[in-house]
């Protein structure tokens, strides 16, 4: 993937750019908002990672300008610690996702991947299928190998999210935000507990594990790894 990184802090920029390159991405870096906006308008990027606090032209302005100009490239906005309202402001400006510094690189990578492969909302099918696992979003039913699986509503939403991002790594934070709408880090094993419950229902009595734990990153739902 071709990723545009607009970040003025040299340390963070190197950390992010090197990490993304290690994972096979092409990274274009700009240290100033103005140059970044110029590069971004050129197009051709799959994902843009933009720091919110930039000299002269800040991240929010870049996103607003790009969206105003009709550039639809997914944007991941980075911000410094603590801005409680920042996430809402960023999403309202047109960013697709939001990550607070300091962050684990695995978190950034998972989110960049999720953004790049984000399916268009309107075209989402009612039936999600991964291997022999099938989830019907309208009937709210789940079957595996033709056998009906009964899920609690939160388990259903968890599985639905995993299946929509099948083959990708989803982090614990992404699950908390998207399945439970928890925008904070709980001090109990909410995610782990629900994943293990879901595994017990989806994986235990069937051949082939679908839900995988990715050490240091999160989880992934995939046919074979």
């Amino acid at each position: 993937m071709k990723i545009l990184l607009i970040e003025d802090d040299a340390h963070t920029a190197t950390f992010v750019a090197n990490g993304l390159r290690e994972h096979g991405h092409v990274v274009e870096h700009s240290a100033s908002g103005r140059d970044g906006l110029f590069l971004a308008s050129g197009g051709g990027h799959d994902v843009m990672v933009i720091d919110r606090m930039l000299p002269v032209v800040d991240g929010l302005t870049i996103v607003k300008t790009l969206r105003g100009a009709g550039v639809k490239t997914p944007v991941l906005l980075l911000t410094t610690l603590g801005g409680v309202n920042d996430r809402v402001d960023g999403l309202e400006a047109g960013a697709d996702d939001y990550l607070t510094k300091p962050f684990a690189f695995a978190e950034l990578l998972a989110r960049v991947n999720a953004l790049a492969r984000r399916p268009p909302m309107a075209g989402e099918s009612t039936v999600l299928q991964v291997g022999d696992l099938e989830l019907n979003r309208l009937k709210r039913t789940v079957t595996r190998a033709g056998k009906r699986i009964e899920l609690q509503s939160q388990e259903f939403r968890l599985l639905e999210y995993l299946m929509r991002h099948a083959g990708q790594v989803v982090t614990r934070t992404m699950l908390l935000e998207n399945v439970w709408e928890f925008h904070f880090d709980p001090h109990t094993s909410v995610v782990e507990t629900h994943i293990s419950r879901l595994r017990a229902k989806v994986d235990r009595d069937f051949d082939g594990e679908l839900i995988h734990t990715i050490r240091g990153s999160g989880y992934s739902l995939d046919v074979a790894r």
Binding site: N85, R87, L91
Partner: protein, 477 residues
């Protein structure tokens, strides 16, 4: 307050304007009264003179010259004011009767200065009323005699003097009253401004406890003073909370940082696996520190009230049941029982994200501090149309003396030093509750702890949300 200060003040300028406008209207009134009085009195005077002349002319016609002369003799001895003047002279200009010297016979009414009537008397003023000008009316009688009747302008002059005197006194008193009253009023006003200035100066000099003196009058100045004091209270509270936060950070972050330092100091990694383990442990430690920072900043931001902007109508029942549902399996895995009793509640104005975190923190607090076997109850009820969130457990509880301390930042019970957590969970709950105008009460559940969050009644809620900009509740990407 110096005099120069007073002359520059708004109240003094207002006073001058007011006195000026008032003085102008009094002057206009004076001129109108003066003019009308003078016109009326001179009309009366000329009428009176003309009537007297007609009476005497009738006497002459009825009784002849002698009778007229006698009547004039009788009249001239009357010296009461207003002084009247008479002259009767024959056709040759010889004096017959009256108190005036003979003169050229001029018919008709006119006004003469008293000096022209008594040319020989000079300027000597023997009798006061003699100084007034005289209105005379003369006419030639049938026999060629000349009759002149006059009356001095005593009444008109007296009336003029009285009017001038009255208005003079009136204006003098008005000016005194305006100046005195205005100075007193303006002085009071300035004194209170000065009180406010003095207070703000003391505060700028560092004495934050200073407050503007208030009185119970309830006028605008009192309201200003009360509002200023409320603002100062709020500022002081924020300042103190800020100071408290920095102290807390200094004290409580030393511990994990020194632990980290010791870890590195003591580490003698032999293998690559040792290194990896050390790094992993240190990152976890640093993450915990960063999380404490972010929780502190979050509390600070919530306390500053900036989150009001994100308020919208939220369904508390839906939030609480969703959060509780997320924790039911967590509690089960720990051998605890989580009971959820959520009744539907009217929508309240609030921040969905923060209310979710509040409910989660309260439930986690119960789960983390209770052993296996306890029952945790999450209940949302309505008490007199007020939504009440109640989270109760049957765990070890909190000693009565420490019940209210646990809402403070970093406050941890001795017994729970070893359980994970930053000691900020309940402080965050308190901050979120206060942002929503709700109260947090900790009580003994016999056994265990009961946390009750009482949301405000509808009226108060309106007041809190006020005319602020509304935004949709934050949604996930």
């Amino acid at each position: 307050m110096s005099p120069g200060n007073f002359l520059r003040s708004t109240s003094f300028r207002l006073l001058v304007w007011y006195a000026g406008i008032f003085g102008a209207s009094v002057a206009a009134l004076f001129f109108i009264v003066y003019w009308i009085t003078q016109a009326t009195l001179s009309q009366q005077l000329s009428d009176s003179v003309e009537r007297e002349k007609e009476v005497l002319t009738e006497l002459y016609r009825g009784g002849g010259l002698d009778r007229l002369a006698r009547a004039i003799q009788l009249r001239v001895v009357d010296l009461r004011p207003p002084r009247r003047y008479y002259l009767l002279q024959d056709a040759a200009g010889e004096h017959i009767a009256g108190n005036l010297f003979p003169m050229d016979p001029v018919e008709g009414a006119r006004e003469l200065p008293v000096s022209s009537l008594f040319p020989n008397r000079g300027s000597k003023k023997e009798e006061l009323e003699d100084i007034y000008p005289v209105v005379v009316d003369g006419s030639l009688l049938d026999g060629g005699e000349f009759l002149l009747v006059g009356e001095n302008k005593y009444r008109a002059e007296k009336a003029r003097e009285a009017i001038i005197k009255a208005f003079g006194w009136g204006i003098a008193i008005m000016v005194l009253l305006a100046a005195g009253g205005g100075a007193a009023l303006g002085g009071g006003f300035l004194r209170r401004i000065e009180e406010i200035n003095r207070t703000t100066r003391s505060i700028m000099d560092g004495d934050l406890s200073q407050r503007v003196p208030t009185r119970s009058g309830g006028d605008e100045m009192d309201q200003l003073a009360v509002n200023l004091n409320a603002m100062l209270d709020r500022n002081q509270l924020l300042m103190e909370s800020l100071k408290q936060v920095s102290n807390d950070i200094a004290h409580d972050l030393r511990t994990p940082l020194s632990r980290l330092r010791h870890r590195f100091e003591a580490a003698r990694p032999q293998t690559e696996a040792d290194c990896a383990f050390l790094i992993e442990q240190s990152i976890a430690e640093i993450d915990a520190i960063l999380e404490t920072f972010s929780a502190l900043l979050r509390i600070g931001q919530i306390e500053s009230g900036a989150r009001h902007a994100a308020f919208s109508d939220v369904d508390l029942a839906q939030i609480v049941s969703a959060v509780a549902e997320a924790y039911v399996p967590v509690a089960e895995d720990r051998g605890q029982q989580l009971q959820v009793v959520v009744n539907s509640a009217p929508a309240i104005r609030g921040d969905r994200e923060l209310l979710t975190q509040m409910a989660a923190n309260l439930i986690e607090n119960a789960i983390n501090h209770c052993p296996a076997g306890v029952v945790i109850t999450v209940a949302l009820e309505q008490d007199a149309a007020i939504p009440v969130l109640c989270i109760a457990d049957t765990g070890p509880g909190i000693p009565a003396a420490e019940l209210n301390k646990v809402l403070r930042r970093f406050y941890r019970l001795e017994a729970s030093r070893t359980t994970p957590g930053s000691g900020l969970g309940l402080a965050l709950v308190k901050a979120i509750a206060e942002l929503h105008g709700a109260s947090v009460e900790l009580s003994d559940n016999r056994p265990g702890l009961r946390v009750t969050v009482r949301f405000p009644a509808a009226g108060r809620r309106e007041l809190l949300s006020g005319p602020r900009a509304m935004r949709g509740s934050p949604s996930t990407a």
